[in-house]
């Protein structure tokens, strides 16, 4: 037997169903979330990215000093270093390390 309480529950559920029917799936909502996921940088990413960049800068500064002291027996290598210059090589290495961080961090998690 249906009690008055059951009757009110059914009425309340129906009222919620009618009200919630006005909220339809919205593609723009999904797009907004996707865009924010693509842009978001969480504290973990920023801390790791910052640490990675600082480490790369430190390593690169030491590498320049090392590279200046290098002597090559091979004429081709010597010519290459003379042509490109130590600073350019250090810049390329730094860029590679930074690019690796940029690629790896967002692909793991926002």
């Amino acid at each position: 037997m249906m009690t008055p309480e059951d009757g009110f529950d059914a009425r309340l559920s129906a009222a919620f169903d009618r009200a919630d029917a006005e909220i339809t799936p919205d593609e723009s909502f999904t797009r907004h979330v996707e865009t924010r996921l693509g842009l978001a940088l969480n504290p973990r990413t920023m801390v790791l990215g910052g640490a990675g960049a600082s480490g790369s800068a430190l390593a690169a500064s030491q590498m320049e000093r090392l590279a200046d002291g290098l002597q090559f027996d091979n004429a081709l290598l010597t010519q290459f270093f003379d042509l490109v210059g130590t600073q350019s090589i250090v810049a390329v290495v730094f860029a590679l390390v930074a690019a690796t961080f940029i690629y790896v961090l967002p692909s793991r998690r926002v």
């Binding site: 309340l12 009618r18 009200a19 006005e22 919205d26 907004h32 996707e34 996921l37 969480n42």
Partner: protein, 182 residues
């Protein structure tokens, strides 16, 4: 065959796959938006909070153990977003007044034909925050009392008490409105 919530959540947790997460957003957005719309009484605010909830869910997806349903886990995050939003407005009563003001402006601007939704939202606005939350979780989101307890972190008995009190208030309000109309 489409992957279920558990499989998609597992894929997102393991690889950070955003396309898999988008499927979860498509699947659950109406549930979360409806729940927050009924809780706040404001469509725009509810959509903002729902977006924040999905972003947070993506970041915290590794914490989803799979013991309960993905829906309950997601609703818990959405509920936390709602509470934080209300706290930012200092007092729930002041926030409710602001929601109502926003709602009135929104209704005038969009000429939104709400009908039942307006009656329902008005009745819900007379409930306490926790009564409104558990009523919405059970009657709008289709959760059991146990699931509502899981989402809110309240004991099951407390949830049942709030539901009974909330229903009694809504019943009185709706019957009062009907009496005026007759």
């Amino acid at each position: 065959m489409a992957a279920n919530d558990m499989e998609l959540a597992g894929l997102v947790a393991a690889t950070g796959d955003r396309r898999a997460f988008s499927q979860l957003v498509v699947r659950h957005q109406t549930l979360v938006r409806a729940m927050l719309t009924r809780m706040t009484g404001n469509h725009a605010l509810a959509d903002d909070l729902a977006q924040d909830a999905f972003i947070k869910a993506y970041r915290k997806i590794a914490t989803f153990s799979g013991k309960g349903s993905f829906k309950s886990w997601l609703c818990r995050i959405a509920y936390t977003e709602f509470l934080q939003s209300a706290r930012k407005r200092k007092a729930a009563a002041a926030a409710l007044e602001r929601y109502k003001a926003h709602q009135d402006i929104e209704e005038r601007q969009q000429n939104w034909d709400a009908g039942d939704a307006m009656d329902l939202d008005r009745a819900l606005s007379h409930l306490s925050e926790v009564e409104r939350t558990v009523i919405v979780l059970c009657f709008s989101s289709g959760m059991s009392h146990s699931e509502a307890a899981e989402v809110t972190g309240l004991p099951l008995g407390t949830v049942k008490s709030h539901i009974n009190r909330g229903k009694a208030k809504m019943r009185a309000l709706l019957e009062e409105k009907e009496a005026v109309q007759v």
